[in-house]
Symmetry: C2
Subunit: 316 residues, 2 copies
Amino acid sequence: MDAASAWLPRSLGAVEASLREATAGHGAALERDASATLQAGGKRLRPLLVLLCGGARGGEGSVRAATAVELVHMATLVHDDVLDEAPLRRGRPTVAATSGTGAATATGDLLFSRAFALLAEAGDVEQVQLLSEASVGLAEGELAQRHDEFDTSIDVERYMERCRLKTAHLFECACRMGWIASSAADGQGLEELRGFGSSIGLAFQLLDDVLDVTGPVERTGKARGTDLLDGTVTLPLIVALRRDPELANVELRGLSEEEAEAVCDRIAATGALEEVRSQALELVAESKRSLAASGVDDEQRELLELVADGVVDRYG
Amino acid sequence: MDAASAWLPRSLGAVEASLREATAGHGAALERDASATLQAGGKRLRPLLVLLCGGARGGEGSVRAATAVELVHMATLVHDDVLDEAPLRRGRPTVAATSGTGAATATGDLLFSRAFALLAEAGDVEQVQLLSEASVGLAEGELAQRHDEFDTSIDVERYMERCRLKTAHLFECACRMGWIASSAADGQGLEELRGFGSSIGLAFQLLDDVLDVTGPVERTGKARGTDLLDGTVTLPLIVALRRDPELANVELRGLSEEEAEAVCDRIAATGALEEVRSQALELVAESKRSLAASGVDDEQRELLELVADGVVDRYG
């Protein structure tokens, strides 16, 4: 990991600078709104995947791809807050809450457009293709989730398909974009890195859905049971419904925050959370097997394994 | 115009098929919502500009570009309806009204993503660049308009800048994309066609803003004075304020629909509408001068002049 000590922090710094640049010069209101989103931006997990899959050879192409992926992610966060009418995101007020639905919709559109402009400017057409397809998936996932609202009859397969669209595709995309930026001309390892991204993306979503049930709010920045309140039926509830059929009698529409917390407690009491956590851990193990098969060099592999473990640790 | 009788209707038909394809296969809800937007789609002015600037040589590249431009336009319509909480668009219920803000935001995102995916799939990186930059402009324009809400002190220059961002850039972009699709290798005429698109885009917006004041609702599909109700200060009001300073005493916030109609009548009484119309006609004349200087062939020029006249006739 010594060699990475040179290029990785430098590349991460370049991504931050590039994110700031992409949101600058669009008027004061946007800079305020976008900065709020930038600052609340969290762990930069997707840019990290791009950079690590690109490796030392990724260079500027990697930085651009990492920035573009994060801009799309930020755009979806801003739009999700419009969809969910969420007051808080990671404990901070959302753009939708501070500036209204209109500004949030336009801010998301701008972040989104900038992502494609950035890649297109540099002629990275293959990257545009990957990212636009992942973006189609994100929107499809959002529509699927809305379609399934409050529907407790959805099965594991449908849930997993939504996770693939809403989360895993962009993780996959990040890995593929990094790999392409590194110009590994022999084509070796792309499918395996894609599998790696997909598995940790799914693990990430499963654990995120567990966290919505367990809280605490200080850690998640949002109320426990927010998914229940939004009508989003996730794996912990699906598993709990199988274990405690009487849960099906709970009417999810119109739950109060207190009632939602009580449903969270009932889900936890079934042991569903342990089952979901262990599925997530199996996905992380699977991701490491894909990684080992990808033929990336030892340094990349070690760092990517740390990222995979980080997904779990975040919830440990 | 005889030669065009062969390729133009065929290309327009191909654009319609391509638009349907781009919105198919994304679940029943989206197809219903997107079809509503597709059917309410109006005149396909932007695709027509792409195809005509591309000419007979534009071929499939022109059709792709025309489809992508219209998808972005449709995405902004769907998002605008979220922003404005508009119940009607061209006399039909909006996606936002029938399926909710959430579905409308996601539907817009999907249309948007599909536009870039379509161009990137074919390797049209220059087209992605033009369209993404125009999309940045659209979002900036929307943010600027929100920033200026209810501000009757904004001047003509600021208003025109907003029109460039919100409307003229995409018209310009359509012309440039068509020109690029035609692979006119010598580079002649691009700036002139860009000027043509910009001028008719501005004329279009000015006349649209006049129409908001004059109605009638049967023609526009929305109430008279909708801009006033939304707090959007447009050129008719800016000119009227100069001609009738007492208008400044009207408080725009919280107007009822009846009061908004009364303000519309006061704006019309100042003669402001004739002034704005004559500015729009001057822009159309300017667009024809740019067109003549572009060196496009006679058939293209005749048809593009018809489009320019059509922008005016729509409001005649």
